[in-house]
């Protein structure tokens, strides 16, 4: 059964130095508040896993929390580059970042294999691309050719992802810790079911989960910790609760471009505010953007 705790407790109990952590949410429902809490607790040497390591992982990478990244698209959606990610890859600042790189189809199938309890997934993909020759984090090829035992067809195998911890954001949970989310649901279900431990931040905790078209439900017994964090997806959004703050994504381009400017943002908007606070979403000029 999921335990309902504070965000700070949920992070402290599940995420340890050196863990492999997947914070998912495909543009929608990105667990930004949890990401800032990981920075605040000064976790180190994490292997970060995420299909689209956008602004949330730019923050964690720039803060020095990660030594490895498994991903398939690392940009600021609709804006451009991730400057902290690029600084880590191009200049090893604040430290070297080892990459394992896939396509979206490959990552989605790796999560699905993890949730399914099988060691790999099969897809048509990677053939002829530079991606098929790249090493995984262990130095061995990250994808392998496989022959269909029924037809003899050549396909591609990708290894299951079994993160130590999955962190996702949902619209709501009930008091028993059953979790419900809807709209663009990405790979959060697969990430949560495939992980050893899971944390879900929610917009609100309600008495009863009402029916909602297209909703994914994670029963309480599949989740470890639930924390109520209204606005916890900001600057991304929670359908039915908040709108995407496109201005913040644009502002991030400026905040993250320069190391000192980024450090100032960390001081004022992450270390200078309390856990779960809506602050941390400002622009690092002393104000809070909430």
């Amino acid at each position: 059964m999921a335990e309902i705790v504070s965000l700070a407790d949920a992070v402290a109990r599940t995420i340890h130095d050196g863990d492999a952590v997947a914070m998912e949410g495909f543009t929608h429902l990105i667990p930004f508040a949890a990401g800032r809490e990981v920075i605040r607790q000064r976790r180190r040497d994490l292997t970060l896993i995420r299909m689209t390591p956008d602004v949330i992982y730019d923050q964690l990478i720039g803060a020095g929390c990660a030594s490895k990244l498994i991903f398939s698209w690392g940009g600021n959606p609709g804006v451009g580059s991730l400057h902290r990610f690029r600084d880590a890859v191009e200049n090893a600042w604040p430290g070297p970042l080892q990459l394992e790189e896939h396509s979206h189809g490959g990552m989605a199938n790796r999560y699905a294999a993890g949730a399914s309890g099988v060691p790999f997934a099969v897809l048509r993909g990677y053939s002829g691309t530079g991606l098929e020759g790249l090493p995984g984090l262990d130095g061995n090829p990250a994808v392998r050719p496989i022959t269909c035992p029924f037809t003899g067809e050549k396909l591609t195998a990708v290894a299951a992802l079994r993160p130590d911890v999955a962190v996702i954001h949902a619209q709501r949970a009930d008091r028993a810790g059953n979790v419900q989310f809807w709209g663009i649901t990405g790979v959060q279900k697969e990430a949560a079911l495939g992980a050893q431990r899971s944390v879900v931040t929610v917009e609100e905790i309600v008495d009863t989960l009402g029916p909602q078209p297209g909703a994914v439900v994670l029963p309480s017994w599949t989740v470890d910790y639930v924390a109520e964090v209204p606005g916890g997806a900001h600057p991304s959004y929670a359908l039915g609760y908040s709108a995407r703050d496109n201005d913040f994504y644009l502002a991030w381009d400026e905040i993250s471009r320069d190391r000192e400017r980024f450090a100032r943002w960390l001081d004022t908007d992450v270390f200078g505010v309390s856990p779960g606070s809506l602050a941390g979403t400002g622009t690092g000029e002393g104000g809070c953007g909430a």
């Binding site: 543009t27 691309t129 663009i184 359908l239």
Partner: protein
């Protein structure tokens, strides 16, 4: 402005030849490549603008599919990301990311894949991963693959939309993120790729299409005021020019009004200026 429209209607487009930007010409040209009723897998940025322009003009029944899992999205403004709320709110169906790739894209259900790129080569291979000699120490780290490798492999046809420079149109891409025609004729078949590959590359100068025999991208059309020599000067390989080079029509007043309307609504509602 004439007075025949209903009171309060948006002003009709002016009849005199309109001025327009190279990006507007490119977007209009790309929109025209989409036929009504097709299913189109859309990348964000220039491809999304063109696909939404097509829906707003000649292809109202175009089915827009985004990799966020939104099938049949009907946004009334340009989404700023592939996961904008407007896509989920207006879609016929919203499915998970594993499902959009495995059930919808992989089996070849989707007619057209619409992609942008940072770098493309003469065989239509696309690079969105790294610029530089080696992967391990790149000169420029680009965002990476996203869903483009699967879109390029499995959509029945692919259209690429990107601005043309000598640095972006190269003899050989630094890294093959998404396969066009590989190293030439027969390569897609040898790799087991089920889709036909890039049928058009639409730029801010004109249109390139693969030569049926060599698979090499060949200039087949130019915009008003652009010469074949202009395009060659912005191509990093010895560009072949079709013997029947088409002169592409400028954007119509209706196309320009629709495109500017979509952009105005986006900026008005999102404050993203």
């Amino acid at each position: 402005m004439n007075a025949t429209g209903p009171p309060g209607a948006a002003p009709a487009a002016v009849a005199e030849p309109a001025s327009y930007t190279a990006d507007e010409m490119m977007t209009a040209c790309a929109a025209r490549a989409l036929q009504d009723g097709m299913a189109c897998f859309v990348g964000i940025g220039l491809p999304s603008a063109a696909a939404n322009l097509a829906r707003a003009t000649h292809a109202p029944n175009l089915v827009l599919i985004y990799e966020s899992g939104t099938i049949g999205a009907k946004p009334d403004r340009l989404p700023l990301s592939i996961g904008d709320g407007i896509l989920a709110e207006t879609a016929d169906a919203v499915v998970s990311v594993p499902e959009i790739f495995n059930y919808w894209l992989q089996p070849g259900r989707i007619g057209i894949g619409f992609l942008g790129a940072a770098q493309i080569d003469k065989f239509g291979n696309i690079n969105t991963t790294v610029i530089g000699e080696t992967y391990a120490s790149p000169k420029v780290r680009l965002p990476g693959a996203g869903g483009a490798p699967e879109i390029a492999a499995s959509c029945r046809e692919v259209i690429v939309v990107m601005r043309q420079t000598r640095r972006s149109f190269v003899q050989r891409v630094d890294f093959v993120t998404s396969v066009g025609y590989g190293d030439g004729p027969g390569q897609r078949e040898r790799l087991g790729l089920t889709g036909a590959g890039p049928r058009k590359v639409i730029t801010d100068l004109g249109v390139l299409e693969p030569d049926p025999a060599t698979c090499e991208l060949t200039l087949t059309g130019v915009y008003p005021g652009v010469s074949a020599a202009d395009v060659s000067a912005r191509t990093g390989w010895d560009l072949a020019v079709s013997g029947s080079l088409a002169m592409i029509e400028p954007p119509s007043p209706a196309e320009l009004a629709a495109l500017r309307g979509l952009q105005a609504i986006t900026h008005g509602s999102e404050g993203a200026t």
